[in-house]
Symmetry: C2
Subunit: 181 residues, 2 copies
């Protein structure tokens, strides 16, 4: 019986640990390709695959990072809404747990990136359009045309994402899939 053979259990623990490490490391790499700092992505990965909430010290220990680093990135993740802090009664320290529902995670990320990056980009574009408004030259016409096209596109994207993310339900996209040829 596997469950009671100490050697087999130890071997399994090692394999799991390796798999977890792989996941955390690689998720960090993937995150940095999308403009998220490596450590923040790694902490997030760690919390996603950890059933129970962890303390700052546990995160530090697992990832071999300093207290300051762990602290700041946990705060940042909390700011995104991807991580919640949990206070257990009778205990003084703070625990952290990740939102584990993949669709909810997706919605949070989309909403935040919309708010932090897409909206500001649209504002920048509008500002540029305004600055060139009324200019007569052909170069100005070309500039205005391009920036307007970009602006309209981003507004459309913003609208689509809003709708996709609105219901907090994962049913819409799979359903819409049927219609997409």
């Amino acid at each position: 019986m596997k469950e009671t053979d100490p050697q087999a259990n130890a071997a399994e623990a090692v394999r799991l640990e390796a798999a977890r490490d792989e996941f955390v490391t690689q998720w960090g790499t993937i995150g940095s390709a999308w403009g998220i700092n490596r450590t923040m992505a790694q902490i997030h990965a760690l919390l996603i695959i950890t059933p129970d909430a962890l303390t700052t010290d546990e995160v530090m220990e697992e990832l071999k990072i300093s207290r300051g680093n762990a602290h700041m990135n946990l705060r940042e993740l909390t700011g995104w809404g991807l991580v919640r802090s949990v206070i257990r009664k009778g205990e003084r320290k703070e625990y952290f747990e990740a939102e584990k529902d993949v669709w909810k995670m997706f919605c949070i990320i989309v909403r935040e990136r919309k708010r932090r990056e897409i909206r500001p980009a649209i504002n920048v574009l509008k500002d540029c359009i305004d600055r060139a408004d009324g200019l007569q030259s052909p170069e100005a016409a070309s500039f205005t045309w391009q920036t307007k096209a970009l602006c309209e596109f981003m507004e459309m994207a913003d609208g689509v994402l809003s709708k996709v993310v609105k219901s907090e339900q994962s049913t819409i996209v799979p359903w819409a899939l049927k219609f997409l040829k």
Copy 2:
């Protein structure tokens, strides 16, 4: 008549130049939030709003950057397919022009990010799932469950994006919009 008043024309040129600079600068900032290096985003912005193709020297001059920098980033943009090089007959130097159709730009970026980042991420996840395959502990079960959920989600996203981007036509998304509540 505005067109023939030298002073008015000069003033307009200044305003346009300011608007163009603003756009290039801000686009660089936006790009870096999405994991694209600032200069590459700026060169891309510059080429988008410039009606005719530019040489490496012109790009260097406009953005005040070195030859090496301009060269490498132009190559990178060419690699993404966002910029094409144009050779004019009788001339020896290379000109560069950006794809200007916004929807095509979007399709190119989505295809490339799918290929470079989403696919590899899916492979990483599959690898992690395999590594933990068959392990008995509850922690292992939790790990497997989470990574599988993530993997399935990303495969779905990959599929949706493939379909959105397949036709090279901007008609599908606006059409699908009607169905999204």
